[in-house]
């Protein structure tokens, strides 16, 4: 704090009289000039303080033996006991590994899918066909995972399409849902099927912002469709892609309980038991709020560290989230 002088901007007009004056002045001048920006953001700040930070303070129960009947003030403090409980849970590393593996698959395959689909849509010249297909692609997003899970089980059953096709080639029936080597592929593919159309919307909005005259100019220069995609479409989408990627990274270990829960069977526990399904057993079935909060904190810290790293990298090229 005492060294603020080093950080002074060259254009500062006032001369420092006290230690903090220059600092204060710079902000005060800015606030006076752009006061409206500060007023605008006020509702947002209040929202985040009241509905996010205030309840977030309740995370202290991760360091307590929280008893709902007593409340936070009367529950006893146990230090890091809850974290010890998690890290000594015999299947913890299995669960963590499963979570990270599936998360990685989803990032590698699931994340680019809507980008590719958006580019494919961009190549469709017939306006009506484009609109109709976009509208169809976004339908599955509205089906819950219970319904989609049922469809997946049915498609992959002995009577399902895949085994029917195997039958045509004289191959044996495979019960895909109870063989663990297929589980992760099923999770990734069903996830893409359900949400790819939905995820595309945002990229289509980005593409919509491109001026058609850019393409015309490119055609004049002799660029084919592929080159246009590489040099015009993708660069325009890039800021959106980057932001979405960073936000994804921040929630890296959160896979979404519903999907996994509805696809999991005891025969695929060894590859599909993830943090959220464990939290369900410990939290919902046993009401161990302190333990589940501790797990949540652990997930968040990992996510935050990853985001920090990637955000630094992002800032070198374009811009980061902050």
């Amino acid at each position: 704090m005492a060294n603020t002088q080093d950080h002074l901007e060259p254009g500062s007009t006032r001369v420092s009289t006290g230690r903090f004056n220059l600092m204060e002045n710079r902000y005060l001048v800015n606030m006076r000039k752009y006061w409206m920006l500060y007023v605008m953001i006020l509702p947002g700040i209040i929202y985040y303080l009241v509905f996010k930070y205030l309840p977030l303070a309740g995370s202290v129960i991760a360091f307590q033996d929280y008893q709902i009947f007593k409340g936070i003030l009367s529950s006893s403090w146990v230090g890091l006991d809850n974290f010890k409980f998690i890290f000594t849970y015999e299947d913890f590393y299995l669960v963590l590994r499963n979570t990270a593996t599936i998360a990685l698959y989803q990032l590698v395959f699931g994340f680019p899918a809507p980008i590719i689909l958006a580019l494919l849509f961009n190549e469709v010249r017939l306006m009506l066909a484009k609109r109709v297909m976009q509208s169809l692609f976004y339908l599955p997003h509205f089906l819950s995972w219970v319904v989609v899970g049922g469809i997946v089980f049915e498609l992959l059953s002995s009577q399902g399409v895949f085994n029917m096709m195997r039958g045509w080639f004289g191959q044996e029936t495979i019960l895909f849902m109870q063989e663990q080597q297929y589980f992760r592929a099923i999770v990734v593919i069903s996830g893409i099927w359900k949400d790819v159309g939905w995820g595309t919307i945002i990229y289509l909005a980005a593409i919509a912002g491109i001026n058609p005259s850019l393409y015309e100019a490119a055609v004049m220069d002799g660029a084919n469709r592929w080159k246009q995609t590489i040099h015009i479409t993708l660069p325009t989408m890039f800021p959106t892609i980057l932001v979405l990627f960073l936000l994804n990274i921040g929630n890296f270990l959160e896979l979404g309980f519903d999907q996994i829960y509805n696809l999991l069977t005891p025969m695929t526990y060894s590859v599909g038991d993830i943090i959220e399904t464990y939290v369900y057993r410990a939290g919902v079935l046993q009401g161990q709020y302190s333990v589940t909060t501790a797990i949540g904190l652990f997930q968040s810290v990992i996510g935050f560290v990853l985001l920090w790293i990637f955000n630094r990298m992002a800032r070198k090229t374009e811009q980061g989230l902050w």
Binding site: G71, I72, L285
Partner: protein
């Protein structure tokens, strides 16, 4: 516009400081609130009692002027105010939130072990003296044995809740008589004969459609609803979940006994020969039900009281379909039975905070346990809960626009079940259903672990959720692992907390036996 936002935020920010305090303190819980309506009672006004019951399904919450509420009020002087969970919510979580915000009802139906949270933290009212005084019908209609189990579930031996009592077995092994006739066999008496029957079902096209699509027997995901296959080996099973019973002279987890090992070995053989539906562990409820409806399954385990819809569907494809109860086939060296859990599950309890209203809460409860009110409890009000067709009262299906009627009785005797069958099953199916019940009743046995409080699992979520068991069961049965892996399971189960849980259960059982 700015001004508006600003004004709002000022108000909000003033609230923030208040909030911090209240959230930190949570609730003090056991602080007794003065009950204003008790004063009303002294003026001979009806007392309002808030009743919480989850899973009420569709329908509106009846108001004060609802006829059902009025009728109950006339009889008891108590106006009931129903509170329920939203569909799809987790009732345990809902109750936890009620506790956390100090917002408990006057009488509630606990779920998911919440009763133990309340008992342990001093939030439950002891009912030992109040019950005989204010709820004589509840007190005398529930057998003494059930009260003993309730006493054993609390550390100080008091009665903290009214238990659910179900004196008939709800579930039964069933088999298709018409299939047996077609393959020329009779109801199997031993596990070997059962296997023979299943083989005949598999090979001899008993559904007569010319395709080998029969699934001799089938169950559901997680090993649910195939308890008949475990029951033959004396394994206490409840919807695919191993229970606690006496093995080798001591109460034990049925999942780790040699009975279980024998049962799994047998089931594995059935699976290998395709006598057990090879997709049994992948069957969601609706898929399993469709298989039975479509005349694909020969033998299964379920609730006979639900047979009606299944049977109606079967008749479409197989006009001579007939279902009978199957006595548990005898396995060499084992004593088979149909697992029955009859009592001990908590049904109603009163929070300490609602102590002042306990008298009225119990009076309300007593109304439902008074047999002279049976007719009203079953049928309710005409036009709301039933309609009269050809002079007979017919219960209406639940609907969003109709009010829900409170029911509090959860005591089912043989007589109750008979009446229910008469009222809910068409005449031409009644005998079939009664016969199925008769068979399962003669095989049924109450297990030693009936009424075990789930506090024994505290700190061991994986033991409570039977995750380890399910993984080993399914992988051994589908042939991915050899049966020898069972020993590994027993070992891992014990180390993962099973040993500690077993000790707690044995201590509990010693208390019950006293």
């Amino acid at each position: 516009m700015m001004k508006h936002v600003f004004g709002k935020s000022a108000r909000v920010s003033a609230l923030v400081s208040l909030l911090v305090v209240s959230i930190l303190s949570g609730c003090t819980g056991n602080g007794e609130k003065p009950a204003a309506s008790v004063n009303d009672a002294e003026k001979n006004m009806p007392v309002t009692v808030k009743v919480f019951k989850s899973h009420m399904g569709v329908g509106t919450i009846p108001g004060k002027d609802n006829e059902h509420v009025k009728y109950v009020e006339e009889k008891t002087g108590v106006v009931y105010e129903l509170m329920t969970t939203a569909p799809g919510s987790e009732p345990t979580e809902f109750l936890n939130l009620m506790i956390a915000s100090d917002d408990l009802p006057d009488i509630l139906r606990p779920i998911g072990g919440i009763e133990q949270t309340l008992i342990k933290q001093g939030g439950a009212l002891a009912l030992d003296d109040l019950l005989p005084k204010y709820a004589p019908n509840v007190w005398k209609n529930i057998p003494e044995e059930a009260w003993d189990i309730v006493r054993s579930a609390s550390p100080d031996g008091h009665i903290y809740y009214v238990p659910k009592v179900f004196l008939v077995p709800e579930r039964a092994p069933m088999i298709r008589q018409d299939w047996l006739d077609k393959v020329g066999l009779s109801v199997p008496k031993t596990t070997e004969e059962y296997k023979e029957v299943l083989r005949a079902f598999r090979d001899k096209d008993p559904n007569g459609n010319g395709k080998a699509d029969e699934l001799p027997t089938s169950g559901r995901e997680f090993g649910k609803w195939m308890d008949h296959l475990f029951g033959m080996y004396g394994v206490a099973m409840w919807e695919g979940v191993p229970e606690w019973d006496i093995y080798e002279g001591e109460i034990q987890y049925a999942g780790v006994t040699k009975n279980m090992k024998a049962a799994i070995a047998y089931i594995r053989e059935l699976y290998e020969e395709k006598l057990l539906d090879n997709e049994t562990f992948l069957n969601k409820g609706d898929v399993w039900q469709a298989k039975i409806n479509n005349n694909l399954v020969g033998s299964w385990y379920h609730l006979p009281a639900n047979l009606r819809e299944r049977y109606t569907a079967m008749l479409k494809g197989a006009p001579d379909a007939y279902v009978v109860g199957m006595p548990v086939p005898k396995a060499e060296g084992f004593e088979g039975f149909v697992t029955q859990k009859s009592m001990g599950e908590p049904e109603w309890m009163i929070p300490t905070a609602a102590k002042d209203k306990a008298e009225y809460s119990l009076k309300l409860l007593d109304f439902f346990y008074d047999q002279s009110n049976d007719e009203f409890i079953r049928f309710g009000i005409e036009g709301q809960q039933h309609e009269v067709v050809n002079g007979k009262k017919v219960i209406l299906p639940p609907e969003d626009s109709r009010p829900i009627a409170l029911g509090m009785r959860n005591l089912t005797t043989k007589e109750d079940m008979d009446v229910r069958i008469k009222e809910t099953i068409p005449e031409d199916m009644q005998k079939m259903v009664q016969d199925v019940f008769a068979v399962s009743t003669s095989d049924a046995r109450r297990i030693a672990g009936d009424g075990l409080p789930n506090t024994v699992y505290e700190g061991f979520p994986d033991i409570q959720s039977h995750k380890l068991f399910q993984e080993y069961l399914t992988k051994i049965v589908i042939g991915e692992w050899p049966i020898e892996k069972f020993e590994e399971f027993v070992d891992r189960w014990n180390k993962a907390g099973g040993e500690a849980v077993t000790k707690r259960v044995q201590e509990w059982y010693a208390k019950v036996k006293e």
